[in-house]
Amino acid sequence: MFGGLHAPRALPDAGALLAVARSFTPRVEARAPTPVLLDLSGLGRLWPTPQELGRALLDAAAARAIEAQVALAFTRETALVVARACPGLTVVAAGGEAVALAPLPLALLELQAEQQELFARWGLRTIGDLARLPPAALAARLGPEGPRLVHRARGEDAGAFVTAAPLPERFETTLELDWPVEGRDPLAFLLSRVLEPLTTTLAARGAKAAALAVELGLTDATTHARTLRPAAPSGDARTWRTLVLLDLEAHPPRDAIARITLRAEPTPARAAQFSLFDPAQPSSEKLAETLARLHAWTASGRCGSPQLLDTHRPGAFAVQSFAPGPLPRGTPTPALPAARVALRAYRPARLAHVLTKAGVPTFVSAPGLRGAVATAAGPWRVSGDWWDEAFSREEWDVALRQPGAAAAGNGAFRLFLDRMRGEWFVEGELD
């Protein structure tokens, strides 16, 4: 059995009627704010008669200040059309769909404008007039749409019931404080009171919080708003409490706190199936907490994983958020290259004064280093990005004979000549 729920007057909230319908059954179809179609299968166990069920629908709508019209029928088309037409509660018995629809105006079928005009010229005024037309003859004039209209007029359904998407659930909680709060300890206690039920609700929905919006109403009538988004979702109240406290330590509110509002952004919780033979993975909550404690480094963007960029520009890299994922299953342990010399980079590169002979550096003087070049290897010319910010340089690896140092203690450095600017720089030391 199906139920049609229609609000003839404008609704204060577009989703109000849908919310009323959802309070009875999740199988609801709504193509517009009104009318709404309900699949009443199974509700006979709660309301033995259609009249009781219809009365319950009207009462639920009235509780939300909605003046509704309810129709119960055994076809979807009949329930929708009768709900639009008849005030109050209407119950259409099985087999009586065509009779119930016959006297109703044709406009209730929600026809296209040209179809309405055509039927008006033909003298059709009611749904019954359309239902009496032969489908085959109407097909010859209107195409396949003709027989569909005749079947609708007779109260017959076409197509399947399409359940509307579920309303998004809000995970939000607010706590009004009896007196303003300052300080970490009382705030920690209050945050626990607020976070425990929030995380419990999330867990009951099989979700975790990917982000948490914290709004603190202050005594000076302002709002201190922060949004925390750790690398991995968490459903642990203690972890979120620690993250919130660390964030407030780094960004303290200007005044005492009078109200706490927390809003969680839900994400499906995914269970991780660990294997006996895979390396143990770090706890995402522990990692998020550790990174939060390093907020002084993360806030300035100086904490994360280095990432090489897809460019030939020397020294190009980015620092991305530290989020090590699990190793893919079956990943063989890669063979490591032989131990290599590494560059200790100077940032920025140090401007140097270099004496050359036949283009080969012979003496280098730069902040922090000075000496004759014992051996020079190079040059290697590197250039690129001509379409953007071009670079062109000539690189040398040099061993500097520094005053007071033994021959074996000659430091090794990387120099480069910026050919665009004609200046020498020390890029770093080879170590």
């Binding site: 770090p282 290599r340 010399v341 051996t375």
Partner: protein
Amino acid sequence: MSAATLPATLRWTSFEDEGFSYPERRAEGTGAVLEPEPAAASGAERKRVLEDLLRARRLQADEPPLRGEDRRQRPLATGIAELDAILSGGFPRGELSEIHGPASSGRTGVLLALLAHTTRTGALAALVDPLDRLDPASAAAAGVDLARLLWLRGARHRGCAGRPSGASGSGEEPQAKTLADATAAVATLAGSGLFDVVALDLAGADHERRRLPSTTWLRLQRFVEDTTTALMLVADGHVACSPGGRTLALEPAGLRFSGPPGPACLLTALTARARGGRHGLRTAELALAAV
């Protein structure tokens, strides 16, 4: 209680007791009767054999540790055979160790080799770099899994007029606050228990490093005690080493080039002499490839 005193319902019986006998096993070809197989091993014996097989398959020195395995007994190897030999397998976990030496002695290359060996098994490593010296390209070339390396970079400071690390006098000195923040970050990382290696690169910050309280290293050592984290210091000279840690002292032994100075000359290797072990009595020659 011997088997003879057990109630009849509980006594073990064998096929022979029930009147059955195993068929004779004959060798193919000759038809000679083979000796019967030894009796089935006891449960404890079977368990030992299975555990040996499991250990041989998965618990090799360079394989990732299994979940729940006590990794504190497995030192962190650098992957450089000469150094691992003088370090008795590597740097011990739960201890404070150090790598020190002057400029171009191979400290950074050894550190990156250690980080590469650690991250390739899926473990995490952290590098606190107050002077912002790490070159990601060098790290990637050394085999470090950059996604598993947490890098904390010191902020740039103005008026840099320092000298290369290891030179006499002051180097490029970070502000005292930078080093204090760095040691606080090391304490946070070491105490989290998430990282197999936490390294603090102090090379080039000799002057400011001396201004830190002497108890700093003792406090950091306490954070890693009884954990699986190895705390590493990289510096120009000796800083600190816990009683169970290892000191690796590097001394430059010269650079190797592919030929006489000229357009085709390449830097091929950086050589160094390494002293290691608990009392620094073991030595080795180290060569880091440059190409």
